[in-house]
Amino acid sequence: MLISNIDVIPGKNIVQHIGLVQGSTVRAKHVGKDILAGLRNIVGGELSAYTELLQESRQSATDRMIAQAQDLGANAIINIRFSTAAIAAGASEILAYGTAVIID
């Protein structure tokens, strides 16, 4: 599965556009990590617990998107976009979407 956020796959021709595929996940984090993050807010700096959480979520959103594209018989996804929304305190939704295509 070739995935990219540009409109073309270099050196390949797009045979068929299959359509929009998406994957999303909503994650909340651990209370303990939240308290640590609260302390971090005093001294500033990176909140690695959140960074990890969001990276894992983004990975699983991407994996779901890829699984959906495979179900539809695509072999590449182009024009991928990410979007993140904080829906409640400590929980965020991560969405990955793109266009599934068949390339030769």
């Binding site: 540009i6 050196g11 609260g38 005093i42 500033g44 990176e46 909140l47 969001l54 990410f82 904080a86």
Partner: protein, 157 residues
């Protein structure tokens, strides 16, 4: 009285640790940026002629940063008179550069020679939003182009 004491302690801690962390982060950023200068990051949407035939892969790098208490305090004052909030500017600049570096690291692990169509996204993590202290996530993502199509890159999972 106790509250005032706690507040002052928090401001001093924020000022001290925030400054130390910021200085250390800036020096680490510039040394790593020098090391990664070979790997171009572009915002063009089409691969250049040198990369007509290549393998593409989505790469991303992200970081979540929070402001220190001193900066929140200063920004609170600045909000009254308006103007540039330099305290927040430096924080976001650092975070964005860090996100680019992580994206470049990811691309290098895949054996890429160029990143095109780089995009940024900023979102607020609402964990401590009720206190008015924001944590911000910055994501940088783009398409990594690797020239050696014969050897497929190792997926980073």
């Amino acid at each position: 009285m106790t509250n005032l004491f706690i507040l002052i302690t928090m401001i001093i801690m924020g000022f001290y640790f925030g400054r130390v962390a910021e200085r250390r982060h800036y020096s680490s950023l510039s040394s790593r940026e020098k090391a990664f200068r070979e790997l171009q990051v572009l915002t063009i949407r089409r691969p250049p002629n040198s990369h007509r035939e290549c393998h593409t892969n989505l790469v991303c790098g992200s970081t979540v940063v929070s402001v220190d208490f001193f900066k929140v305090f200063i920004a609170g004052f600045k909000n009254i008179i308006g103007g540039r909030l330099t305290a927040y500017e430096s924080l976001l600049e650092r975070a964005r550069r860090e996100a680019i570096l992580r994206m470049q690291e990811h691309a290098l692990r895949l054996g890429a020679t160029m990143i095109i169509n780089a995009r940024f996204e900023t979102s607020r993590v609402s964990g401590n939003a009720s206190q008015g202290i924001g944590s911000v996530e910055i994501l940088a993502y783009g398409t990594a182009l690797s020239l050696n199509t014969a050897k497929p890159p190792i997926p980073d999972r």
